[in-house]
């Protein structure tokens, strides 16, 4: 073929337009083939769709640090039900939340993902984005793999969504070295706890760790739930005000404790586990997942550290309030491999799965039939289910998002500069009024 000037230019036009088209195609993406998640050997059918018997399920979480633990579970699930997990971990919870929300707008819905109970779960349910798990709950409640107490946190408009990824109880971890050095024993009452704090403060050692960022709510929940659990719960439903005299009293008690030198500076840069290891503080008010973090730096439960249930501030309470949290594991309603992911949840709830999961992390299990190796954690799990304790949902999940983050800022300010609590309580209440007024 003779190559003419005209031909060359025509070719250049075609080539450049093709380049533009290729770019568009690259930007547009293509998922008509519905590949990836759940890819594996097809076997049975569910609702007209083929359900694979084995394969890999895409799993997303904001708990990136737990990748080795999820790998253990993945290996166990592959052996038990033929499915392993393709792990994608985010270490930034905010970025993760934005990612999951945006993923629902794409063809690649998150097959399995971790989330939060409370308002964040309700938001997904209201948009029809998460799979209904009522059948799984009914079965697991029937065979004792799930305790009935948990159901309410996964129920929206009478139906259940997601299943528990974990439960954790908030207890007081302490350095056994410091307790031995000062001849201290775990307290049975609030007064004994304060005596311990006084003893340590007299020697310039902060009894308790606290922070002015994310976990700034921890001592507020401990003091309020320990003083008046009913007020705590009414606060989370908008039935009580943050300017209630009971709340003000608790804030004043908190400020007094800070003034007495019970707390560390709220801007310590080290990780909490390192702080305990270094003996910078004597005690840390933390969820039981902290055991795994302590074990990860080679501390030994019962030797280097231990924990006790925080006594109620108010000795007249019938049952000791015990803060707990639970986080969900969810399946997207329109995931390509929804059926496979739901089968995975079915396995996840079993005692075998939860024995692996709880022990890989070093934490309690939501499944009463799971065998927790750490004796202290196992005993706590049994103890927590008795009538001596009243389980109270953690402030982070119990409080609507807009109020929560206003409160976190306010508590962060308070632990830095304790004083008259009323201005910050009024700020939180203004946000609460706006929230509950719009419901």
């Amino acid at each position: 073929m003779k190559l003419t000037y005209k031909n060359t230019r025509r070719k250049s036009v075609i080539a450049s337009l093709a380049a533009g088209a290729l770019l568009l195609a690259a930007c547009g993406g293509d998922d008509d083939d519905g590949d990836t998640a759940g890819g594996g050997e097809p076997a049975g059918e569910s609702g007209g769709e083929q359900v694979a018997e084995s394969g890999t399920i895409n799993f997303y979480t904001d708990k990136a640090a737990w990748e080795p633990q999820f790998d253990e579970v993945s290996a166990a699930s592959e052996e038990a039900v033929g499915f392993d997990l393709n792990f994608s971990g985010y270490s930034d919870a905010n970025a993760y939340s934005a990612f999951i929300k945006q993923a629902f707008r794409t063809d690649e819905k998150p097959s399995l993902f971790t989330w939060h109970t409370g308002q964040p779960l309700k938001e997904l349910v209201d948009e029809g984005l998460v799979a209904n798990t009522s059948d799984l709950w009914a079965d697991a409640l029937g065979n004792g793999d799930l305790p009935a107490d948990l159901e309410q946190y996964y129920t929206v408009d009478g139906e259940q969504y997601c299943v528990p990824l974990l439960v954790a109880y908030w207890v007081m971890y302490y350095s056994t070295d410091i307790f031995e050095q000062y001849n201290l024993t775990p307290p049975q009452t609030w007064d004994e706890l304060i005596q311990i704090a006084d003893t340590l403060a007299a020697d310039g050692i902060p009894a308790f760790w606290h922070t002015n960022v994310l976990f700034s709510f921890v001592w507020f929940q401990t003091l309020l739930a320990g003083t008046d659990p009913d007020l705590y719960q009414r606060l989370s439903t908008g039935e009580a005000s943050y300017t209630d005299p009971g709340v003000v009293e608790v804030m004043e008690m908190w400020g007094d404790m800070i003034d007495k030198g019970y707390f560390s500076a709220p801007d310590m840069a080290d990780d909490p586990q390192t702080i305990l290891k270094n003996g910078d503080v004597a005690m840390l008010n933390f969820g039981t997942f902290f055991t795994g973090q302590l074990n990860s730096i080679d501390l030994v439960s019962g030797e280097d550290y231990d924990f006790f249930i925080i006594p109620a501030v108010n000795p007249d309470l019938g049952a000791t309030p015990l803060i707990f949290e639970t986080g969900p594991l969810c399946v997207a309603e329109e995931a390509n491999d929804r059926a496979e992911a739901m089968n995975y949840l079915d396995w996840w709830l079993t005692a075998d799965a939860q024995t692996t999961w709880a022990n890989s992390r070093g934490d309690v299990s939501f499944n009463p039939n799971a065998e927790v190796q750490d004796e202290r954690l196992a005993a706590l799990g049994v103890e927590a289910s008795t009538d001596s304790y009243q389980l109270i949902e953690r402030y982070f999940e119990a409080t609507p998002t807009s109020i929560l983050f206003t409160a976190l800022d306010a508590f962060g300010q308070f632990v830095t500069d304790p004083g008259d609590p009323m201005p910050i309580l009024e700020t939180i209440q203004a946000e609460a009024d706006a929230h509950w007024g719009s419901q």
Binding site: K6, R9, R10, S12, V13, A15, S16, L17, A19, G20, L23, L24, C27, N94, A95, S97, A98, K101, Q102, F104, E123, L124, D126, E127, L129, N212, V213, L214, A265, P266, D267, M268, A269, D270, T401, S402, F405, D409, A410, G412, Q413, F414, V415, T416, D417, I424
Partner: protein, 308 residues
């Protein structure tokens, strides 16, 4: 005139026929299309979408709900935004005074010094570290009873009991210091390039006339550095207006939102509180502030240069 017209005629006679011109134009469009598309898809569309979101209530799920100007009203009535504006202004001024000033000082003192590049090297190393890593390092230095407080105490100097990251606006000042630690070196490098590109003749002539030290700098070096200074300060203004990483890592804008900048406020509203509409309104406001500051500064500088 004849000489000027000849190339025009030559060019006109070389133009292809109308059909060929049309093909040529299409070809040009084809070649520019990918670039135009990239700019449109990655820059203009997100900006337009963000502007639209700023008039809505949106939590990242479902459809945005139209609110009109409510987000802007809420934004300007929030006392936290005033604090954020004040801190951002401190960052702008602080970034110009400290890292730019320090960079200039290092450059002037070392540009014609023997082994000057070896002296400048340590100042450049922090630039290789990410802003997040700088924030983490300085958190350990500046925490209560941290390395700085211990050093001051050891040396018997005042300030060892300061709460560097807890008290406002002290926390903003020390974070500007941390940012200066990272950015001074690269500013020094840019100024050295500027100083080395100044013709030697006027400098030597000034020296022959007896100028040296401050006089030489004020009358010769500084005016001749001006084009580069305009660029360095212009970049610093834009960078300081969007200060985020170091603040987020060191204080998360706290305590009690006391060290937030506009970029941190935008992030918090959007990704922490999931108020995408309000976050978008702050984003639009920040864009407008950045554009006004940049254009005003550059116009003034360029018009002054033209006047000179």
């Amino acid at each position: 005139m004849t000489l000027l017209r000849q190339p025009e005629r030559a060019a006109t006679s070389a133009l292809p026929a109308p059909r060929a011109r049309s093909t040529y134009r299409w070809s040009a469009w084809g070649f520019t299309a990918p670039g135009v598309l990239i700019v449109a898809v990655l820059l203009y569309l997100p900006f337009l979408w963000t502007t639209y979101l700023s008039f809505t209530r949106y939590n990242g799920l479902g459809a945005p709900e139209w609110l009109g100007l409510a987000n802007y009203e809420q934004m300007f009535s929030d006392p936290a935004l005033l604090t954020s504006l004040r801190n951002t202004a401190l960052w702008v001024v602080g970034t110009i005074v400290v890292p730019v000033g320090l960079g200039l000082l290092i450059a002037v003192l070392t540009y014609d010094m023997r082994f000057g590049s070896w002296f400048r090297l340590p100042f450049l190393i922090p630039y290789a570290i990410s802003g997040v890593a700088v924030g983490i390092i300085w958190s350990f230095v500046l925490q209560t009873d941290g390395a700085l407080s211990q050093a001051l105490s050891f040396l018997g100097l005042p300030g060892s009991d300061s709460r560097w990251l807890l008290d406002a606006p002290l926390n903003t000042f020390v974070m500007i210091g941390a940012a200066a630690w990272q950015a001074s070196g690269v500013n020094a490098l840019l100024f050295v390039i500027g100083l080395q590109s100044i013709p030697k003749e006027p400098v030597e002539a000034a020296r022959v006339d007896g100028a040296s030290g401050v006089r030489l700098f004020r009358s010769i070096l500084w005016p001749m550095l001006r084009p580069l200074t305009t660029v360095v300060i212009g970049l610093s203004i834009v960078a300081s207006l969007k200060t985020f990483d170091i603040v987020w890592v060191m204080t998360e804008g706290g305590p009690g939102r006391s060290s937030e900048t506009l970029a941190v406020t935008m992030y918090r509203e959007t990704f922490v509180r999931t108020e995408y509409g309000l976050g978008a309104a702050i984003s639009v406001f920040l864009t407008v502030v950045t554009l006004i500051a940049s254009i005003t500064y550059l116009r003034r500088q360029l018009s002054e240069r033209r006047a000179v």
